[in-house]
């Protein structure tokens, strides 16, 4: 395992049935990065996290986390890990503060270390609500208490299983800001989510479906992988002839044009930086007047659909293989 890596899974398989579990999973998590594990419900995200934290043992393959086999983590190594499960797991009869203190005690932190506890409460913006029982708290507050419980001992490797599930967009954005703060502070995070749009906040995104990783790349790379290149929207002053537009397709990365309306087309190019001037030159050469040419960033929902649909269509190649 390279020194820069905090977790490495190699050909990891844990099966609960023909299409349930994770299969042949390869994944590397480096220091100071956020890896997003994105996929639909039942795709194997939680199983992956459980394998990496030692909750589950693999059927085959190897996994090393902080240099150890998770199934046989030493107590010292466990103290370096933070884990936030998918479900809200709080004692219903303890207040949010008492739940947090109990979580701190699991890591040997005395309840008297108030400064650190107050810092983490500040970090998750829960001041003033910590005396509530879980039943009196909102879903977002409970999630944030769980996040605080996960981070209270300042772990260097953090596993967050769908931390933003069920939260409103504003709160989700805030939480991702916090995750970025942690990564900036040198912590490594593996975050699972069903919200495909959250891929944009990750340094590296693993798209997972049916227990297999379909793509593992940066968000930009993922877009390219999904659409075969970068996307430009070209708007003409007047509606061009079909033949004229088809000649523009010669500049694309091999894909046909997509008409957005009578004057606009969407074109996939290898490199938007060089394709832009080429399109302007094509317009001059063909006496066509352009209103504007601008890069289009497809939403990650579309990226995800594109990638997963390739698998559904029976393609043996992952989108990345096409490059």
């Amino acid at each position: 395992m390279p020194e820069s890596s905090v977790a490495v899974a190699d050909d990891l398989t844990r099966s609960f049935g023909p299409d349930a579990g994770v299969f042949d999973l390869d994944l590397t998590l480096d220091r100071g990065v956020i890896v997003g594990l994105i996929g639909p419900s039942g795709s194997g995200k939680t199983t992956t996290v459980r394998l990496l934290t030692g909750i589950l043992s693999p059927d085959s393959g190897t996994v090393r986390v902080l240099g150890e086999d998770p199934v046989h983590f030493s107590r010292e190594t466990r103290a370096r890990i933070g884990y936030m499960p998918q479900d809200v797991v709080l004692y219903p009869d303890l207040t949010l503060a008492e739940n947090l203190k109990f979580a701190a005690s699991l890591y040997g932190m005395s309840w008297r270390r108030r400064d650190e506890l107050e810092q983490i409460v500040d970090f998750v913006e829960l001041n003033g609500v910590m005396d509530r029982l879980p039943k009196e708290a909102s879903g977002g507050e409970k999630r944030r208490v769980m996040l605080a419980s996960t981070l209270v001992h300042q772990p260097e490797l953090i596993f967050l299983d769908e931390p933003t599930a069920g939260l409103d967009p504003v709160l989700r954005r805030k939480l991702w800001d916090r995750f970025e703060d942690l990564a900036d502070a040198g912590r490594s995070l593996l975050v699972t989510t069903q919200y495909v749009g959250e891929a944009a906040y990750c340094d590296l995104v693993a798209v997972i479906a049916r227990g297999r990783i379909l793509a593992l790349a940066t968000p930009d790379e993922l877009r390219r992988m999904a659409f075969g290149g970068e996307v430009l929207d070209v708007v003409f002053v007047e509606q061009p002839s079909r033949a004229m537009a088809e000649s523009l397709a010669a500049l694309s990365a091999g894909k046909s044009l997509e008409w957005l309306d009578r004057r606009s087309v969407r074109i996939v190019v290898n490199d938007a930086g060089t394709a832009g001037p080429a399109i302007v030159k094509w317009a001059q050469d063909n006496h066509v007047e352009l209103e504007q040419t601008e890069p289009y960033l497809p939403p990650f929902d579309d990226v995800f659909v594109e990638i997963v649909s390739d698998l559904s269509n029976g393609s043996d190649q992952t989108p990345g293989d096409r490059e």
Binding site: R50, I55, Y83, D93, A104, S105, L106, G108
Partner: protein, 490 residues
């Protein structure tokens, strides 16, 4: 504080807060058992219920006094009706109008004269084993009482005859006096005539003396039977040779014996017949500190059962709840050791159950119970709580839901009611089944508490030693079981 101690303390505090945060639960835990004990004490009668009874007499014995029989049956048999038709009475019994039916024997005198016992038939429809045993006992006691009354009446009549026998013996002693005088005077013929009169007189008296056998049997039972009896004297007199020089001494011995008999017969007239029928009485000396009420007797058992149930339920639900909430996953990833979690839970629940036990024990003291040596009492309760917690943790490793945990706990309570000696004495269980008893902490608790609270002797070290050993074994098994749940990867 080291990390391990912090984790243990974290569990102690968490468990105690969780319980105290549920005031209704706390009130139920303390007041519930206390109210149960109080209600039991107020509602329990230590006397069997009076059985509504019909007595059926044969028509030809209509003279038999039903009032006398009713008195013989005692207060537990309430004679509500006397009739003469057994079939109609059986119908009333079957309809549930009666608890008991007693049918007096037909032709009792003839049956007895033929050398057979006459049967009183006691019929009932009771199925409860305790009440059936009570009816059997009451039946035997009643028939014994009737037998005693019959015999006492016979003795009373016999005593009336004893007076005549006594007078006859006085006459025989006069003959012995004359016989001695004749022998000393050397009048052999007169002496022989008098000896023959004496022989004949003794034979007649022996045949009439019905009480002689009774006295002999009493003497035999006491081990102080007398050599003297009319039949023996008659045999001695028949063997006397008036020509023998020792005849005077023999006659004087006979006279002396007759004197003894005369004294005994005088006593027989003065001793009441009921004493002669039941000459022995049982005097019971109770060395135990007998509780003043049945509730106080059952109090220690109820306390042991309640505390065991409390501890088993707490422990069983605690880990199951954590499994259901998904906290076990968090534990598994954290540096928490199973022994730390278990120690924290043991301490927390021992404190809670111990507090409940202290309150209940205090209430029992107020109501007149004694706890014996307070230190041994406290040690017994603590050991029993720890063993019960071990049992509960074991349950929690088997149960998957809190419903299952509660069901298993209730099952243990049910088993405990029958097998711990709370209701039935342990000695009434056969040895292989008694093994179950000693798998239940309350068995040790009840044994120890009974020794402490009711007996003068100290608690046998085997009881507390066995309980401590069992608690330790359960703790190890619980640790192993919890390790499978918490520490091992699935």
């Amino acid at each position: 504080m080291s990390g391990g101690l912090v984790r243990v303390w974290g569990f102690i505090r968490k468990e105690i807060i969780s319980v105290l945060r549920q005031p209704r639960l706390v009130v139920t835990l303390i007041l519930g058992p206390f109210l149960i004990l109080v209600l039991f004490g107020l509602g329990y009668r230590d006397r069997p219920p009076a059985f509504k009874t019909e007595l059926v007499l044969p028509s030809e014995q209509a003279g038999l006094a039903s009032a006398d029989l009713g008195e013989a049956f005692g207060s537990s048999i309430e004679l509500v009706r006397t009739s003469y038709d057994a079939e109609e009475a059986r119908a009333r019994l079957n309809r549930g109008e009666l608890d008991l039916l007693i049918i007096a024997p037909d032709n009792a005198v003839e049956t007895i004269e033929q050398g057979n016992r006459a049967d009183f038939v006691v019929a009932h429809t009771e199925v409860d084993p305790v009440l059936r045993a009570t009816i059997n006992l009451l039946s035997r006691l009643s028939i014994d009482e009737i037998n005693r009354r019959v015999i006492a009446r016979a003795i009373e009549r016999a005593q009336e005859g004893v007076e005549a026998i006594d007078a006859g013996i006085g006459q025989l002693r006069a003959v012995t006096g004359e016989l001695v005088t004749a022998l000393e005077a050397g009048d052999q013929q007169r002496a022989e005539d008098l000896r023959a009169d004496l022989d004949e007189g003794l034979l007649g008296a022996d045949q009439n003396a019905s009480s002689d056998a009774l006295y002999e049997s009493v003497g035999e039972a006491l081990g102080t039977e007398s050599e003297t009896s009319l039949s023996n004297l008659q045999r001695d007199v028949a063997e006397i040779d008036v020509n023998d020089p020792s005849a005077v001494d023999d006659i004087r011995r006979v006279d002396s014996s007759l004197g003894e008999l005369e004294t005994q017969l005088e006593q027989a007239q003065t001793v009441p017949p009921e004493i002669l029928v039941s000459p022995f009485n049982a005097e019971i000396s109770e060395l135990a500190r007998v509780p003043s009420t049945p509730a106080l007797f059952y109090g220690p058992g109820a306390l042991a059962l309640l505390i065991q149930h409390l501890a088993v339920t707490f422990a069983a639900l605690s880990l199951v709840k954590e499994k259901q909430l998904g906290l076990v996953e968090v534990f598994r990833v954290s540096p928490l050791g199973v022994s730390e979690a278990l120690t924290g839970k043991y301490v927390a629940f021992t404190v809670i159950a111990g507090a409940v036990a202290a309150v209940l024990s205090g209430a029992m003291l107020v109501f007149g119970a004694r706890v014996g040596d307070p230190a041994v009492f406290a040690l017994t309760m603590i050991l029993m709580i720890i063993a019960s917690l071990g049992l509960g943790f074991l349950v929690s490793t088997v149960a998957r839901t809190d419903t299952q945990a509660v069901q298993y706990s209730m099952m243990i309570l049910l088993v405990s009611i029958f097998f711990t000696g709370f209701v039935l004495p342990l000695e009434q269980l056969i040895a292989p089944i008694r093994v179950i008893s000693f798998l239940l902490p309350a068995t040790y608790g009840i044994l120890a508490l009974h020794e402490l609270m009711f007996r003068v002797a100290e608690v046998e070290p085997m009881i507390l030693g066995g309980l401590a050993l069992y608690a330790a074994v359960l703790a190890v098994v619980a640790w192993w079981g919890m390790r499978q749940d918490v520490a091992k990867a699935d």
